[in-house]
Amino acid sequence: MSPLLEIFASSVVTLGSPFLDIALLVLAVASIIFAYLTVTYKSLVYSSIFLAFVGLVNAAFFMILGYPLIAFVQLIIYVGSGVLFIIISISMLKEPKLTFRPNIYSWVIMLFIFVLIVVIGISVGIAPSELTYLGIFPAVDYLVKYWFSILLLVLALSMALIVSIAVSRGERE
């Protein structure tokens, strides 16, 4: 077995719980689908909203990796202010006409980057046993302790999204 395959075999570990395994798989699939929609969707407003969902899914990844504080920063600062700024700014405009430039180079570059990152990532991540996945427990603690603030946060984000969609649709008509 080649060294690369051995490293790959050592990095494929289960999380210990089927629920966490399935949750991680669902998060990964959702993240990839939202990223694809962000890049290819025709409407800029909805594309930005899909980017917000990519940020939300990434925050869940950060919690699983053991960084709940970074996850909350991602939620509050990145999604809450940055992406919403894009959404609201774009929704103030008339929907611009999109132009595309499909070519073979984009696919080649994407495949090259993908293979490069996977090889580097597998080579670096050779000590998976140090990962404890304990980050999900502080996250649950935060949810229990600060449920009211999180509820307000979710309501505020939802309201801002709905208002931005309403504004963009209103301008178009």
Partner: protein
Amino acid sequence: MIIIGLFLIIITAAVLIGVGIWGIVYNKNLVKMLLSLEVSFNGITLLVLYIASTTGVLGIIKLGAYIVFLGIALAIGEISIIVSVILYMFKEKMLNEISQDEVGSEE
């Protein structure tokens, strides 16, 4: 038995970075290029935190979190400046389609 795990995180990060770069090359629209850049940024933060949680960055476990924290703050600044410039150009009729082709053209 479902066996998935750390490799899935690397795959996800690689796909996010790849799709983002694909979008930058594929799209001409300036806002779409910015959104693609942000998708790449999300993949990079995921990869950095994964590396930091397994081996540490430069041998320091907490350094990855600091780097990502700084990166998120810088990304917000970048978003605000780029979106503001694009919107200003669009409002001042320098751009008609927010397309890369029109930037720098003499019309």
